[in-house]
């Protein structure tokens, strides 16, 4: 997605590859991530090699990875979904309730119900936003309140405890295949699927088009409403999946589940180079952004920075990422103008 803008003949292929890579947001963020992990490991071996280090490194971001993938899809269409945290909480609780009330349900079915339920909540968002042509920010801010209110009202003080859920399900939270945690594998599959869709499917490319210029999209005769509704449905469904993940990983679901995750999901996408006004960015970028956000949280204490400062670092990182983006695109623009002058 990071094609160079200068005419191809003007740079050698090597220059182009190097230049492209350096300009690529994904690679820059990935480099930061790697440096972070290396530094943390040097400081404390167990971060990577000790006991659960490797597993935790991979499994902790799983939930945010899934959320960021969905959020990317919505942002690409020039919308935003602030209700994902509430959707996650609601679905996580639903998952727990299902195990309590229908202990015989197979785990796969619970996964499917969670996804479907999240999708349903996303559908509500999508219909409100695309159907009534009103700003997503306002609508999903409203449903953030509503979904969480419904969740809390339903759950009350009821808390789902690990003992309420089958151990087969809970072990998903830690189970590893070839040392890679199952949840991470699922999250990566989701990323791959969403990325594949956005990159190579008609619908995906149309989502970019819609985000790039909604008016032009209408002129082209694209099914704007349908695509936007879909983006919200997928985002909701992924938040639902993340809810099931949450239940499996944390075992305990209380009213706080998923609170404030929405802004983290948006932040992950923004750090990963997804333009907040749609039309550009990749789900890989968002995934790396999510990985980075979560890992920073875990690394800072190891580096001796009190965890009170974590959020400040995250904030600085987000702002840095947007400024970097602007600097890069300004440089490209200048290159283009100069190319035209010749």
């Amino acid at each position: 997605m990071s094609e160079t803008l200068v005419k191809p003949s003007e740079a050698s292929p090597l220059q182009r590859a190097v230049g492209g890579a350096l300009r690529s947001r994904e690679i820059a963020v990935f480099a930061v991530l790697v440096v972070l992990i290396v530094v943390a490991t040097v400081k404390s071996n167990s971060f990577l090699f000790g006991g659960d280090g490797w597993r935790d490194l991979l499994v902790t971001p799983a939930i945010l990875l899934v959320l960021a993938a969905g959020q990317t899809m919505v942002i690409v269409t020039r919308n935003v979904d602030l209700s994902v945290g509430s959707t996650l909480g609601l679905t996580a609780y639903l998952t727990g309730r299902l195990f309590v009330d229908q202990p015989s349900l197979p785990i796969v079915v619970v996964f499917l119900i969670g996804i479907a339920f999240g999708g349903l909540l996303g559908l509500v968002n999508g219909i409100l936003v695309a159907g009534f042509r009103v700003p997503a920010l306002v609508i999903t801010l409203g449903t953030l309140y509503i979904y969480r209110g419904v969740f809390l009202e339903w759950a009350g003080s009821d808390r789902i405890n690990p003992s309420d859920m089958p151990s087969g399900f809970l072990s998903l939270g830690t189970k590893q295949i070839l040392t890679i945690p199952v949840l991470t594998i699922i999250a990566l599959l989701v990323i791959a699927a969403v990325g594949y869709y956005l990159h190579t499917a008609r619908g995906g490319r149309e989502m970019y088009a819609i985000g790039s210029d909604p008016d032009a999209a209408t002129l082209y005769g694209l099914a704007v409403t349908k695509r936007v509704v879909w983006a919200f449905v997928i985002c909701g469904a992924l938040a639902g999946l993340a809810g099931v993940f949450y239940a499996a990983r944390y075992g305990t679901i209380s009213s706080g589940a998923g609170r404030n995750l929405e802004l983290e999901a948006v932040a992950a996408a923004v750090i990963g180079g997804v333009a907040i006004f749609g039309g550009s960015g990749t789900v890989w970028g968002a995934a790396i952004g999510a990985f980075l956000l979560v890992t920073i949280d875990r690394v800072l204490p190891i580096l001796g920075i009190p965890d009170f400062w974590q959020r400040a670092v995250v904030g600085a990182l987000i702002i840095g990422a947007i400024v970097l983006d602007r600097v890069l695109s300004a440089r490209q623009e200048r290159a283009l103008i100069e190319a035209r002058d010749r």
Partner: protein, 368 residues
């Protein structure tokens, strides 16, 4: 057809000032709808909710809503220019901490600590404003970042501590009532002064006209000589200062400076502003609607709390109001569009059945 020369034509044409009668202009607005709803809910609660008519209700309502009412003022202007500021609650948290540190750790006198806190709020606003207006970054993304940054600094500075040993004189001031025993806390004086100032700024000043123009069409605004960047910068700065002031009030009211003070207030402020009829796309909205929006949220929460209804239901009600308020606008306008189209079609019916009946004058020269 001919145009009279510039100098003569002064009284050629006369224009009415308004196309609609005064009453129509007053009552048929989003703002009035919200005010009407507020009055309705207030009197319903007054008559039907036990203890709502008590002397404490309004006092607590104003105290609780004061920070939101205050920040809603600059936020209205920010949103009218088409931007948004998500970092206001974090600025409150940071100024709260700075007040505590200034007073307790630096040993400043209270007025000096307050000045320090206000300066910090101003700097925060300036950072947002610089990034949005002069660097040209999207405010949604910038303020998501600065929200985390400012909050992070606040929490980082104070860690686990809470500074509580504020001078009684000052903490009492925050909760004092006007005239000693009325239902109105003194913070209302500050609010009224600020509200008047912001109303003049937005509705009766050249600056305010520019604010609307930027929201409706920033290109035209630029061509007209509006300083788009400077205006946006000033508004973020104002949002920072007022958030700082709200943070100080908050700290004194609770007598406790903590990093996590006022967390999540930003969404409430934005919800109130949008409920008050301000368009998230910018260019539309008025301060009286916004104030009514904030008070509506306050009255609804207060009444529901008195009924021992849980916060969750309150949140559902507020979320529902928010969604309805935007959707209703869109539904109304699409209905009126549809009606207009129907009317147009009725005037000139589509002649679908008309088929090559008459000689075709478009045909006569067609070369084939």
């Amino acid at each position: 057809m001919s145009m009279t020369t510039i100098d003569e034509a002064v009284n050629e044409r006369t224009y009415a000032d308004y196309s609609r009668p005064l009453l129509w202009r007053v009552f048929m607005t989003r703002e009035f709808a919200i005010i009407a709803l507020l009055v309705l809910v207030y009197f319903y609660a007054y008559g039907n909710v036990a203890n709502f008519d008590g002397p404490l209700t309004l006092y607590y309502l104003f105290l609780d809503m004061a920070p939101i009412m205050l920040i809603a003022l600059p936020m209205t202007l920010v949103i009218i220019t088409g931007e948004i500021d998500l970092s206001v609650a974090s600025i409150m948290g940071l100024t709260s901490v700075m007040l505590g540190i200034g007073y307790h750790d630096f040993g400043l006198s209270m007025p000096l600590a307050i000045v320090l806190a206000l300066v910090v709020g101003t700097v925060c606003g300036a950072i947002n404003g610089f990034l949005v207006a002069y660097v040209g970054l999207p405010s949604l993304a910038v303020t998501i970042g600065s929200m985390a940054l400012f909050r992070g600094i606040a929490v980082g500075l104070l860690g686990t501590e809470a500074i509580t040993d504020f001078d009684e004189k000052w903490t009492d001031l925050a909760t004092q009532r006007i005239g000693g025993d009325s239902s109105y806390p003194v913070i209302l004086i500050a609010f009224v002064v600020l509200a008047i100032a912001f109303a003049i700024l937005l509705h009766f000043s050249t600056f305010g006209r520019g604010v609307y123009e930027i929201g409706l069409n920033d290109q035209t605004a630029r061509f007209t000589g509006v300083k788009v960047e400077r205006t946006k910068f000033c508004l973020f700065l104002l949002a920072g200062v007022v958030s700082g002031f709200a943070g100080i009030f908050y700290t004194l009211r609770y007598g406790s400076a903590r990093g996590d003070n006022a967390e999540f207030y930003e969404l409430q402020v934005i919800a109130a502003v949008l409920l008050g009829g301000v368009s998230i796309f910018g260019g539309r909205g008025a301060l009286h609607g916004v104030i009514a929006g904030v008070l509506l949220i306050g009255v609804v929460s207060s009444a529901l709390r008195l009924e021992n209804v849980s916060t969750n239901i309150t949140n559902i009600v507020i979320g529902g109001l928010l969604v309805l308020s935007v959707i209703s606008g869109s539904v109304l306008s699409s209905v009126s569009n549809l009606r207009q189209r129907r009317a147009a079609r009725a005037r000139a019916p589509v002649k679908a059945s008309h088929r090559s009946g008459q000689p075709d004058d478009g045909e006569k020269a067609a070369s084939e």
